[in-house]
Amino acid sequence: MINKLWGFFIIIGISFTILVGNLDGLNDTILTSTKSGVDMVLELIPIIILWSGLMKIAESSGLLEQISKIFHPLLSKLFPSLKKNSKALGYITSNIAANALGLGSAATPFGLKAMECMQNENDNKKVASDAMITFLVLNTSGVTIIPTTVIALRLMHKSANPEEIIIPAILATICSSIAGLSLDYIRRRKRK
């Protein structure tokens, strides 16, 4: 997917620029545009390193686990098809908690484990179960409390208030999560 998308951008971009005859601009773009990418990475290096360090503390001290426990009762209601005390639920809460803290790389292994556990309880191994779909809808609606990369980039471009988007982003996340979960609920009910 990314493979095709990447090729598509370059082919369409170059062809169209040649077509409208902006050759100077095109050479400029090809030869110098990656500099803004380097700037971007340079700006992201400190915040990623800092945040990874802090999150390691959160993980080792058991804080992540504590936060997962807070989510647990709420999340178990969202997954009525899972067995009580299902292992999957533990991995789901860890995944959501890690995601919420902006710990993407730590979240993925939990998520894959959760899928594996749900697959074990799944009757038809080729077809996605209700629980899997609910989990992925929740996961992809992006429950992030502190979007560190966005804040770092805003800082780099001299925003007067880089963190001002935190609360709006949380509110928007809540909207999309509720919308996704509601639609999932309706469609699940319809099948029965």
Partner: protein, 173 residues
Amino acid sequence: MSQISKLMIPLFVLFVIFYGLKKKIVIYDVFLEGAKEGLVTVFNIFPSIIAMVFAINIFLNSNILDFLFQFLNPLLSILNIPLNILPMALIRPISGTASLAIMNDIFIKYGPDSLSGRIASVLQGCTDTTIYVLALYFGSIKISKTRHALSTGLFADFIGILASFLIVNFFFS
């Protein structure tokens, strides 16, 4: 509201450090361990960011979007949304780095505190790479029939985009 936003990060850092000390973790060593992992993450995403910035810049600088969506321009300019929000919203579910590159471009052209810069920020923060995540997670357990997972996920993203626009307008007008 912006005071709460400003308190989030300091309080979070304070809490993490405090909790680590309370649980008798050697916080300094653990921090360094995590920081090293962070360095590896940066090392791994560096090439993909360069690759995406390269492709996105060629695409956006060709002005093909202005050409294709001229008819939308009057409407978008009334609402003060740059055309770049459109591709960002479309690409967000597929590639996080690509949408980050577009957001960077919007920051350069319009500034992070412009309406569009704020919408882009909230959009990047509140949605995820839905298509990529579904492919990865379902692929890992060899599920081929995903039922309503994709359409529901994309619907949530769409509401997220809509919410970003409305909330930013409400907060910062």
